[in-house]
């Protein structure tokens, strides 16, 4: 029985009258990869941002290493959250800084590397995500969308965080690069023993990077289980979603 790194109970977040998260319960075991799937706009990004403290939930608890970060003193909560590296859905690269400074940003902020060495370190990490030295000096706006995503990934994993969040890591990448990034994510997570949560719409990717999977539907986790069962589970919501069927419970829910 492994221990729980992140434990979420009864998490609620409403935007006005819109109940985006309406009682999320989710456990993520240390050293495992959790994949969260769900339709567009169901609150997957909001869920990650709540754990990160970027969105303030209306109710519920979020425990990291057994401490509720919503109730803990600010300094302690910040420290717990500092173990999280985040790849944002749109990359969120700092466009006033060159690529290498983006990648080394967290390392410089935590003084884990000197300014003089930062560029070399960044180039090394960039190589891991398949980007060459020539990219290091460019501005993020000079990169393609897929390259930006990879720089975002490099930035998220640079500090070798104990927890990694990936918001749609392979969206916008070609299939081969998608597979490479998946492998890299698995590598990082396994090698560092990190715990990860990944959001994805890509079922092949979900099965590669996830040990467990959870379906976010109507503000709750409607199904969770081993990622390998995503395509075979009898759960009608998951079945419709993973097979991309036009008809099923999800469409019905939207119609009423």
């Amino acid at each position: 029985m492994s221990e729980i790194k992140i434990r979420i109970r009864g998490l609620k977040k409403y935007f006005g009258a819109k109940k985006v998260l309406d009682g999320i319960d989710l456990d993520i075991e240390t050293g495992t990869g959790m994949v969260v799937i769900g339709g567009s706009g169901t609150g997957k990004s909001v869920l990650l941002k709540s754990i990160l403290g970027l969105v303030t939930p209306d109710a519920g608890s979020i425990e990291i290493d057994g401490v509720d970060v919503l109730k803990a003193p600010r300094g302690q909560a910040r420290e717990l959250r500092q173990q999280i590296g985040m790849l944002f859905q749109n990359g969120a690269l700092f466009d006033s800084l060159p690529v290498w400074e983006n990648v080394a940003f967290g390392l410089l902020a935590q003084k884990k590397v000197s300014r003089a060495k930062a560029r070399d370190v960044a180039v090394e990490i960039l190589a891991q995500v398949g980007l060459g030295v020539d990219v290091a000096g460019l501005s993020p706006s000079e990169l393609s969308g897929g390259m930006q995503k990879r720089v975002g990934l490099a930035r998220a994993i640079a500090a070798r965080p104990a927890i990694m969040f990936f918001d749609e890591p392979t969206t916008g990448l070609d299939p081969i690069m998608g597979a490479v990034i998946d492998e890299l994510i698995v590598d990082c997570v396994k090698k560092l023993g990190s715990t990860s949560i990944a959001i994805t719409h890509d079922m092949a990717s979900a099965q590669r990077i996830g040990d467990k999977a959870a379906m976010l539907y109507e503000g709750r986790i409607s199904w969770s289980g081993p990622a390998a069962e995503l395509l075979t589970t009898p759960d009608t919501v998951v079945d419709q979603f993973t097979h991309g069927r036009a008809h099923g419970p999800i469409k019905m829910a939207l119609r009423k």
Binding site: Q82, N90, F94, A109
Partner: protein, 260 residues
């Protein structure tokens, strides 16, 4: 029904205003407190200083020069009606150092740098860059806001000092080359009436205005929502709010600084 609608609308407007002021108050306190607590980001301070100070040099310089020239010309046509031409030099130097230097420089810089700040921070907000900062062990208030506040407080007095000099020079050029004053005479009457307090009060105003410009730029950018349109309206709000506050506070500061 109509009356109720109006009341509801009024209530919402008042609540909105109260909320805005409350948010602004908290943002101001937090921003100032971060100016005084490490870590500091010298590069960010330098960058903000360049943006507010250095790149505003041309526009502030030209504004001050022409203002001095117009002042001299305008007061000549007015004062010559009652033979008070000799007061022109004093009018120019006192108006520029006490009022026009700080106010005009403030308005110009708010249009330039305040707008740019709101647009930059607004874009960073809507593209999650501000959120990304806090996931990388960096407090956005410290990294983005505090350096700009500090740069505003330092840069604007320096700009105004330059504006003072160029404003007087503009008046001198018109006075000597167009209105026929002697060079020595113009300078003598410029400095004979000028007191340190005139210049210093202008510089104090400038520091306050610089703070206001950076504050409104950062605040409106920081809280902007909803894509390109949100960033656009944040930029407009930043300039409008800073300009109105500059003019209003100018009155208050004049009252305080020259209270006899």
């Amino acid at each position: 029904m109509k009356v109720l609608d109006a009341v509801a609308w009024l209530g919402a407007a008042v609540l909105g205003a109260v909320e805005y002021v409350g948010e602004l108050g908290m943002f101001t306190v937090s921003g100032i407190s971060h100016v005084f607590r490490p870590p500091y980001y010298p590069r960010q301070i330098g960058r903000a200083f360049m943006e507010i100070g250095y790149f505003s040099l041309p526009v502030v310089a030209l504004t001050a020069l022409f203002t001095g020239m117009v002042l001299a010309l305008q007061s000549y046509t007015g004062f010559s009606r009652f033979g008070a031409e000799s007061a022109i030099a004093s009018v120019v130097v006192l108006s520029v150092t006490r009022e026009l230097g700080p106010v005009l420089a403030g308005l110009m810089v708010s249009g330039r740098a305040g707008a740019a700040m709101a647009a930059e921070l607004g874009t960073m907000r809507v593209t999650d860059q501000i959120d990304a900062l806090s996931t990388l062990s960096t407090d956005p208030m410290k990294y983005l806001v505090a350096p700009r506040l500090l740069a505003g407080i330092i840069a604007l007095p320096l700009l105004v000092l330059l504006a003072d000099i160029l404003g007087v020079m503009g008046g001198y050029l018109v006075g000597v080359y167009k209105l026929g004053f002697s060079s020595g005479g113009y300078l003598t009457s410029t400095f004979s009436n000028l007191q340190a307090q005139d210049v210093i009060s202008g510089l104090i105003k400038a520091a306050v205005f610089g703070f206001l410009i950076a504050l409104m730029g950062c605040f409106n950018g920081y809280r902007s929502r909803g894509g390109a349109q949100g960033v656009g309206s944040a930029t407009t709000s930043a300039v409008v709010a800073a300009s109105v506050l500059i003019l209003a506070l100018d009155y208050v500061l004049t009252q305080v600084l020259f209270a006899k």
